[in-house]
Structures are given as C-alpha cells and as structure tokens.
C-alpha cells in the first residue's frame, strides 16, 4: 500500500545547529512531494514542493529538500535552525490512487529547539 513514513516522531536540536528531517514514501511512480509546517494552533503552511526537474528544491524560511529516487526519500534540511522553527513538520505525497488524485500525509515530526 502507498504510504509516507517519517521515522522520527520527535527531534531536538540546539539553536544554530543543522537540521535534517527524514521522509520516505512508498509508491510505484515518482509522486509529487511536499513538506508542510504546522505551528501550534495553526493550519499547515507549505514549505516547499517537488514536481520534477532539479532534485534539490528550495523553500521558504531557509529550508531545502532533496529528492532521491533510488532511496524513495525526500528529506528536509536547514543549515542553521532558529528558535521560531519549533513546530510540527509533515511530509506529504500527491499521487494517483485508485483512479483519483490524492494527498497522503506522514505522521509528522515534532521539532524542539533548545536556546
């Protein structure tokens, strides 16, 4: 079955440190890939997306993600984390499933940033 896996439920980093959040997907073809961030009490904000082309995509707030077809991964990175980055991060896949186009979300990674 198609799925999106975020293996890290919680991650804690110090402010200024680098960050990598992992995402793996299971799907026969290359889907559309997304990262969203959800701050407490808020909806989801799109950080970046991958449709095709360059496998390293840049997003808002200094985030980037790299699509690796061989690993079915789309990991999110940031070179230097700010305290305001503390939030929940969701990886998502857009793909054709059972004849319709759907979005599947991972279970999320909660990021805590230490001052």
């Amino acid at each position: 079955a198609q799925s999106v896996t975020q293996p890290d439920i919680h991650i804690t980093v110090s402010e200024g440190a680098s960050l990598e959040l992992r995402c793996n997907y299971s799907y026969g073809a290359t889907p559309y890939l997304f990262w969203y961030v959800q701050s407490p009490g808020q909806g989801l904000q799109l950080l970046l997306k991958y449709f095709s082309g360059d496998t390293l995509v840049q997003g808002i707030k200094g985030f980037e993600a790299e699509f690796k077809r061989s690993q079915s991964s789309f990991n999110l990175r940031k070179p230097s984390v700010h305290w305001s980055d503390a939030a929940e991060y969701f990886c998502a896949v857009g793909a054709h499933l059972s004849g319709t186009y759907k979005y599947i979300f991972g279970t999320g990674t909660r990021l805590k940033v230490l001052a």
């Binding site: 009490g41 909806g43 989801l44 799109l46 979005y103 979300f105």
Partner: protein, 114 residues
C-alpha cells in the same frame, strides 16, 4: 496562493449536538477537501467537496455523520453530526488550484466535545 478563511476557529460542544464549519476561499478553486487531525496524529482525509454534486467520502467516513455542502467554487461547509467525545479533533479545510498545485490549508477548527 489562495487565502482560506475557516470559521469557527474553535468550539466546545455538548455530545449529541451538531456543528457546522465554514470554509471560504478568496478565489475560485477546483478542488476542496476536508481533513481531520486527531490529537497528536497526522491528517486524515474525510472527503472531497464537489461543486454541484455529492461529496466523495473516504473509507470510514459517511455522509450522515459528516454532511458536506459546496454550493459554489469558493465556499464549502462540513457538519459534524451527533457529536461524541471521539469527534474532538482539528478539522481542516484545504484547497488545490489548477494543474495539481499544492494543497493550501485554512487555520483549522479545533473542536472539543464534552
């Protein structure tokens, strides 16, 4: 990207009652979806709100419990009917524009059922 207004932002309701959540978009959009996010969980698609026809529900969700309206290309409502404490969740409206653009979300409705 589309600006999505969702109302109410939160509510506390008694079991057995119903709540209607409104979603207004500032531009016409092709697809509108309703998601549920239970505490500490990821997003689960409830249904696709189809303009001018009945919504398409995902497995485990039924029209009697979650009736949806979509009278035009900018507005939709989701009703949570005959609520129980298990319905306590965040309900999110989302939209997709033309050509498989990413989903954009409203700020959600935080529902608590007592």
């Amino acid at each position: 990207s589309a600006v999505i207004s969702q109302k109410p932002s939160r509510d506390i309701c008694q079991r057995g009652t119903s709540l209607t959540i409104q979603c207004q978009v500032d531009s016409q959009v092709t697809m509108m979806f309703w998601y549920r996010q239970q505490p500490g969980q990821s997003l689960t698609l409830i249904a696709t709100a189809n303009q001018g026809s009945e919504a398409t529900y995902e497995s485990g969700f039924v029209i009697d419990k979650f009736p949806i309206s979509r009278p035009n290309l900018t507005f939709s409502t989701l009703t949570v009917s005959n609520m129980s404490p298990e319905d306590s969740s965040i309900y999110l409206c989302s939209v997709e524009g033309q050509g498989r653009s990413p989903l954009h979300f409203g700020n959600g409705t935080r529902l608590t059922v007592t």
